[in-house]
């Protein structure tokens, strides 16, 4: 009888331990993520001003933002940036990975060097690059790229690629190194040249890595904020429909400016929810593609 009571008590103590172990992580999670998320969805349907909780206005915020030229433009330019950046980062990262997996003396050193920009925050790097575009390049080329909408767009893409390619390269290196040596040897014995080796063996063998890297860059480019904030801050202006709008204001910065700078909390929150839905769709697509490729294997 006593033993059974002991076991029961023991089970309670164990359960208490588990709950106690979860509390220090669950409480901050609830306060900073779960509750703000729930509240945030609600706020997007109100006329919330940042204080209090606002009046319910239904879909008014959503109707309003999709009628605004600067927001639609921001959606478009973010999509363009995402595609451009995804391509540039992955092409460059893969080439760098091929280079750094050769048996050359510089390989180790270059790997580390290519990775460095990724360690430093986008804010600090953004200001450094603003200097490079406005002072260094401007002195070499006459005018700063940042004064022209197209130039400014590519300026951000250049920096973003410079910062991110080294990181993606590391993932491609991991992929390339996981190709079994026998496979490469067999292909070599069959007389495969460097190009055949690349297109017939290496690239097909790292297809999964490509999927991972493409989605990583997709999500990251879509969420770009720090570089955008520090390099251009949305400038220069572009005339659209008779109104001057920021030409390089990507979605994350657009949300920030709407809420924090222009004090339109409800509109900013509605834009944030749209942002979330788009990202969630991307994630679901990744899961779906991942599942499909598993079946094929």
């Amino acid at each position: 009888m006593w033993a059974v009571g002991g076991a029961k008590r023991r089970a309670w103590v164990d359960r208490f331990t588990y709950v106690g172990f979860l509390v220090p992580m669950v409480v901050p999670f609830l306060v900073t993520v779960a509750v703000p998320f729930g509240v945030g969805v609600y706020y997007s349907f109100t006329d919330w001003t940042g204080l209090g909780s606002g009046k319910f206005v239904g879909l008014a915020n959503y109707v309003k933002i999709f009628g605004q030229n600067d927001y639609l433009y921001s959606l478009g330019i973010t999509a363009a940036f995402t595609v451009a950046n995804m391509l540039a980062v992955n092409v460059l990262a893969f080439l760098m990975a091929l280079l750094c997996t050769q048996e050359i003396a510089a390989a180790r050193f270059c790997r580390a060097v290519f990775f460095v920009p990724n360690l430093i925050g986008g804010i600090v790097l953004g200001y450094v690059w603003q200097f490079i575009f406005n002072k260094v390049f401007a002195q070499l080329g006459g005018v700063s790229m940042l004064t022209d909408p197209t130039g400014a767009f590519f300026a951000i893409a250049i920096v973003s690629t410079w910062q991110y390619a080294g990181y993606i390269m590391m993932i491609y290196i991991t992929g390339l190194q996981s190709i079994p040596g026998e496979v490469l040897q067999a292909a070599g014995l069959d007389g495969a040249g460097a190009l055949a080796m690349l297109f017939r063996v290496k690239i097909p063998m790292v297809m999964n890595t490509f999927t991972v890297c493409l989605f990583l860059t997709l999500v990251n480019s879509f969420k770009q904020f720090d570089l955008n904030f520090a390099i251009t801050g949305g400038a220069p202006a572009r005339i659209l429909g008779g109104k001057a709008i920021p030409s390089t204001e990507f979605l994350a910065l657009n949300i920030y400016n709407t809420a924090i700078v222009k004090n339109n909390y409800a509109l900013g929150q509605a834009k944030a929810i749209v942002f979330f839905v788009a990202l969630a769709a991307i994630s679901l697509m990744q899961v779906w593609i991942g599942k499909k490729s598993e079946v094929e294997l």
Binding site: V31, Q102, V116, N118, F276
Partner: protein, 280 residues
């Protein structure tokens, strides 16, 4: 196959990637006037570099030492707590399997798809409410910032550690129980130490993120608040000057130096940690 000639493009690429850093160092060692004349001329010398650095360090808007100390404190405390608490939580979620624990785990995993922008505005109002209700200062406070890092860093940390706990044989803990160890004792004496490789990943991923993070501290502490982390300080410093590039670049140099030095010494761990975190 040896292809020695490939060293040339590799090194050229490395030089290209490093050139912005060269420009930072070189122009930190010039006067403002010299930069205006030519940003690509060779640097003036160590004397000018030290003068610019001391000007920046003594600057009221930048307040380098205070910001540096804040960044260090926020990063160190957040990382210690995140590693400890997320190890505990990951273990509890792994060892106690029921509907509730599955739900909690799923909630953490799902939250990784939520971008910061969605919660940042409501977070400010939640923090204000908590502040009013409990009297604990959440905004413009280091406590509030660290608390937010626990909230935002928890999901990924628990996810990485959870995968690792699964690989630790339960028999080890059973043996400890036979020797009279409680569940908590088994965790702290046996499991916690075995989690080290995954904890290194968690430390590095969160460390790089927290040290460089700008948006969260700028919102919680304010761009012109009294307490600033380094990225916030750099940003408010840039805002306060009409583009005094000699000082701005010296400030940038100071802000990036710590992590570059760390990278030189812990390169292998940092690269491995960041790549592993991404693939999982």
């Amino acid at each position: 196959m040896k292809r020695t000639w490939l060293n040339a493009p590799a090194l050229a690429g490395a030089a290209l990637v490093l050139s912005p850093f060269y420009l930072v160092v070189a122009n930190s060692a010039k006067t403002s006037a010299q930069i205006v004349i030519s940003p690509i001329s060779p640097p003036r010398g160590v004397g000018q570099l030290l003068e610019n650095l001391s000007n920046v360090i003594g600057n009221q808007n930048f307040s380098f030492w205070a910001s540096f100390a804040t960044s260090m404190a926020v990063t160190a405390v957040s990382l210690s707590l995140l590693t400890l608490f997320s190890s505990m939580a990951a273990w509890a979620l792994c060892r106690c399997k029921n509907r509730l624990s599955t739900l909690v785990f799923m909630a953490f995993v799902a939250s990784m798809a939520v971008p910061f922008q969605v919660v940042m505005l409501p977070l400010l109002s939640v923090y204000r409410t908590v502040q009013a209700a409990t009297g604990v200062r959440m905004l413009q406070s280091i406590f509030g910032l660290v608390f937010a890092y626990l909230g935002f860093g928890g999901a990924m940390s628990i996810f990485v550690l959870h995968g690792f706990v699964k690989g630790i044989p339960y028999e080890l803990e059973e043996a400890a129980a036979i020797d009279g160890c409680s569940r908590a004792g088994a965790f702290f004496r046996i499991v916690f130490g075995l989690l080290r490789p995954a904890q290194v990943t968690v430390l590095i991923l969160n460390g790089v993120w927290i040290w460089n993070d700008f948006l969260l501290p700028s919102l919680l502490l304010g761009l012109n608040g009294r307490t600033k982390t380094l990225p916030v300080a750099v940003s408010s410093f840039v805002g306060s000057f009409v583009k005094q590039w000699d000082l701005i670049l010296a400030a940038a140099l100071l802000a990036m130096l710590p992590i570059v030095v760390l990278f030189v010494f812990a390169q292998r761990y940092i690269i491995r940690g960041m790549v592993e975190g991404a693939i999982k």
